[in-house]
């Protein structure tokens, strides 16, 4: 496998790899040269794809879906990266370490994670903007109105026909019944007619010429957003409608749905309403990435087995904590917010104490490492838990607390936990 991977690496990168190995082994272990090369190529290819891929109004992609799909290779790539990082470790082999090296490596890891995260965001943003520019807001409004107005004449079955049209020519549909070709409220499209307006138009404008015009407008817009033209003439369609006959057209329902979907995707891009546009989502992503960064630092310091046990332990602690809080509420009638902070602090103190115990057996050293990992994972949430002592906390305050927490975790890691892991690793054990 390794030999096959070697074939993918260009000669100049192999030479650079060799130079770094011989001259900067600490930097070499970060694999930053591979990340920049392959990551850079990946980013460039994605940007080119996003920029150059032709778009059609009848086939508008959903950047949100692309974003999620792109996460898969990014996650796999990150997994491969972490695996490669773990193979050569200066500290684990008791090599010489220079001052400032730890900080340098942390910044490199942050840059790596940032580059990997940038890819799906950059691609999706560019694609979204490109989609939004496919049609002007005014044109889109006009097309949506045309579709909404003309849809009456294209029922898919007799039931829908009867639903919409009474014998005396009154039109039924209104806000609650009619599924329009777009949401009827939009931040960017201000000219979309409501179902009430559409109903009024149909009621008030009933001349043949007007109906034929509505049908014709519908056909044009339908062809644009579904990619399929309706070949029947407007007169034929109106004749069928007036005689309560259904238009024989294959997949009319699916084509309408396709048109709706394309318009929806257009609107999402125009309104910047995709998941990756959401500020909360971006904030959450940044926090998660910082968390991943912290976990990476921990992973590189400790044995993989201890790390995995800590993950399992964290899940157990969460589950048990939730159970205890529930019991407090159900049995004693005590609100969780009252006991959460003391429970959290007690647990955190317990893990920190365990991590610094003097007992020195092999098993206890594993437990110490696991305890410190759990303590490091809890630290980012310390400010948030502290704030919840006051029950009323806004979303902004919550994010601020989390940001503060992650900074606290990094500071404590660098000043204390990291050195403890190094010491634990080097110490002889009792058995």
């Amino acid at each position: 496998m390794l030999r096959k991977i070697e074939l993918l690496i260009p000669p100049f990168l192999k030479r650079l790899d060799q130079q770094l190995l011989l001259n900067r082994p600490g930097l070499w272990t970060t694999k930053i040269h591979y990340v920049l090369f392959f990551g850079g190529i990946g980013l460039l290819l994605l940007l080119i794809k996003a920029t150059l891929t032709p778009l059609s109004l009848s086939d508008i992609p959903n950047p949100g879906t692309h974003f999620m799909v792109l996460l898969i290779p990014i996650i796999i790539g990150f997994g491969v990266y972490v695996f490669r990082l773990s193979l050569f470790n200066v500290e684990k082999q008791f090599g010489q370490t220079a001052p400032g090296r730890s900080l340098r490596d942390q910044l490199i890891f942050a840059a790596t994670i940032g580059l990997l995260a940038l890819m799906p965001f950059a691609y999706s943003y560019i694609l979204s903007d490109k989609i939004a520019a496919q049609v002007s807001n005014e044109q889109l409004s006009a097309d949506i109105n045309a579709l909404n107005l003309g849809d009456l004449f294209f029922p898919e079955d007799v039931y829908l026909y009867d639903k919409n049209v009474k014998e005396n020519g009154e039109y039924h549909y209104d806000t609650y019944d009619y599924e329009g070709y777009s949401p009827f409220y939009s931040e960017v499209l201000i000219d979309i007619r409501s179902p009430r307006e559409i109903k009024q138009i149909h009621t008030n404008h009933t001349s043949q010429e007007e109906k034929l015009q509505q049908i014709s407008n519908f056909k044009q817009a339908f062809a644009k957003y579904s990619g399929t033209s309706i070949t029947y003439s407007s007169e034929t369609i109106l004749g069928l409608f007036d005689s309560r006959q259904i238009l024989q057209m294959r997949h009319l329902g699916e084509l309408k749905a396709k048109a709706r979907s394309n318009i929806e995707n257009l609107l999402l891009s125009k309104e910047k309403n995709h998941l990756f546009h959401d500020r909360e989502v971006i904030h959450a992503t940044a926090f998660s990435l910082a968390g991943i960064w912290l976990m990476l630092l921990i992973f590189l310091k400790t044995r993989p087995r201890n790390f995995l046990w800590a993950i399992v332990g964290g899940i157990v602690v969460l589950f048990m904590g939730g159970t205890v809080l529930s019991l407090f509420r159900v049995v004693a009638g005590i609100y969780p917010e009252i006991v959460l902070w003391p429970m959290f602090m007690a647990t955190l103190a317990f893990f920190i104490y365990q991590g610094y115990r003097k007992k020195n057996s092999r098993r206890s050293n594993h437990w110490k490492a696991i305890s410190l990992i759990l303590a490091a994972m809890m630290l980012p949430f310390l400010p948030l838990v502290t704030l919840t002592m006051d029950k009323y906390i806004s979303q902004q305050e919550a994010w601020f607390a989390l940001d503060l927490g992650i900074m606290l975790a990094f500071i404590v890691w660098n000043l204390a936990f990291s050195h403890r892991f190094t010491k634990l690793r080097a110490m002889p054990t009792e058995n």
Partner: protein, 431 residues
């Protein structure tokens, strides 16, 4: 054997060439380049000679002609002469081949952080080291033991399985904590308790080797680089070690592509490439064939004796004779007790009898009859062999002459009077 001087080395080299032992002579020529600042052209020639010999050793009988061997022997002799001339010019030796006034100094391979050290300097001083393991059913105790390891000396720990050899090794390597006793590493010049920096000077090769990731040569470069050997020097040192230990055939291999013998040799190379002050090896001979065992042990002896980078070597083995052939000090362990702990040359000096291990076609009665003239003789059974006990006044020749004169065929004969094998046999008898 110990603390050889330059003239002895040249004498040894000439003898090896006369005996057409190109395997050892090519290695010993390379060892000059470790200890003395010699020109690059000579070094290249020495490495080429070694590489040519390695290739010659792989040839089939038809291709491995004596002409080729003679040509290489001539090159070896010529190189030896050139080295001698160069050292004469540099005033390392005089015209008569005696040691000259020029002290061996200046580093040919500068290892960052490696202190200037002298042969005989104490690397490890342990006093009253003890360790106890307890389980519900069993208790094993390593009772108080003193141990001194010095640069330029090989210390062998021998004994049956389960006697505490590995326990003692792990304590010295800093892998296991002793229950009692004082330990120090004077030559390392690191503060007591700083195990990370202490382990930077110790190379520990356990019996169960952990697999390497990546290419084997890459690991060697990495090991050298993280111990301060950078750039061109790193390349040279790794290439030198590869040739010196006969690893050229597999330098581009992966771990699972080489035999267990080569795995051990690569592990040794990874340790030696950064010149530790203390090399600890647990049961290195277990997976090696007889020839490789000899080469391996010879290399350990040469490495310990290096004029420029002497090291203390601590090795455990059940191959008593092999270890005794290179060891300066021996510790014989039985039931966690050191039945002997001292210089190899002193062992058995105060003995009251000589012991000989023998296998013949004769019965015990026939042997007793043949040797009845040796007063104080007794013969004991030891499995497939017999042990002949005679007073110190009688030497090996006396026993052999007695047997041969009675037409007794001797299949195997070994003088174990000054070998720790004697302690094995004594303890077998007691058991």
């Amino acid at each position: 054997m110990n603390h050889e001087n330059i003239s002895e080395r040249f004498e040894e080299l000439r003898l090896l060439i006369d005996e057409q032992d190109l395997s050892r002579s090519s290695r010993r020529i390379l060892d000059f380049f470790t200890d003395f600042p010699l020109p690059h052209n000579l070094k290249r020639a020495a490495i080429t000679l070694r590489a040519d010999y390695n290739a010659y050793a792989l040839l089939d009988q038809a291709s491995a002609t004596s002409d080729k061997l003679d040509a290489m022997l001539m090159r070896a002799a010529s190189l030896t002469n050139d080295i001698s001339q160069h050292l004469l010019k540099q005033n390392y030796i005089s015209e008569t081949g005696e040691e000259a006034g020029h002290a061996i100094g200046g580093e040919f391979f500068h290892t960052k952080g490696r202190q200037q050290v002298k042969k005989g300097e104490a690397v490890f001083l342990g006093k009253n080291i003890s360790k106890t393991f307890r389980t519900p059913k069993y208790t094993f105790q390593l009772p108080e033991l003193d141990l001194e390891l010095r640069l330029g000396e090989v210390t062998g720990i021998v004994g049956e399985n389960g006697n505490g050899k590995t326990t003692l090794l792990r304590i010295v390597a800093g892998d296991l904590e002793a229950d009692a006793g004082e330990m120090s590493y004077p030559a390392f010049q690191v503060p007591a308790g700083d195990w990370y920096r202490t382990k930077q000077h110790i190379a520990y090769i356990p019996q169960q080797l952990k697999p390497w990731q990546g290419f084997l040569k890459e690991n060697l470069h990495f090991s050298a680089a993280i111990h301060g050997i950078r750039g061109q020097q790193n390349e040279e040192q790794v290439n030198f070690i590869i040739h010196r230990l006969g690893l050229t055939k597999y330098e581009e291999a992966l771990w699972n592509e080489v035999s267990s013998g080569f795995k051990l040799r690569f592990t040794l190379a990874r340790a030696l490439v950064w010149k530790p002050l203390l090399l600890i090896i647990d049961e290195p001979l277990a997976n090696l064939d007889i020839n490789t065992q000899q080469i391996f042990l010879q290399d350990l002896r040469y490495l310990a004796n290096s004029a420029q980078n002497p090291m203390a070597i601590l090795v455990t083995s059940q191959h008593l004779h092999e270890v005794e052939s290179i060891a300066d000090n021996i510790i014989f362990m039985k039931n966690g007790e050191a039945l002997y702990n001292g210089a190899m040359q002193d062992f058995g000096q105060d003995r009251a009898e000589n012991l000989f291990e023998i296998s013949t076609t004769a019965t015990k009665t026939e042997m007793l009859g043949a040797l009845q003239h040796l007063k104080g003789l007794h013969i004991e059974d030891a499995g497939q062999l017999k042990i002949i006990h005679v007073p110190v006044a009688y030497a090996a020749n006396d026993v052999l002459n007695g047997l041969v004169s009675k037409q007794i065929t001797v299949n195997y004969f070994r003088d174990i009077s000054t070998s720790t094998l004697k302690l094995f046999r004594e303890n077998v008898k007691k058991n």
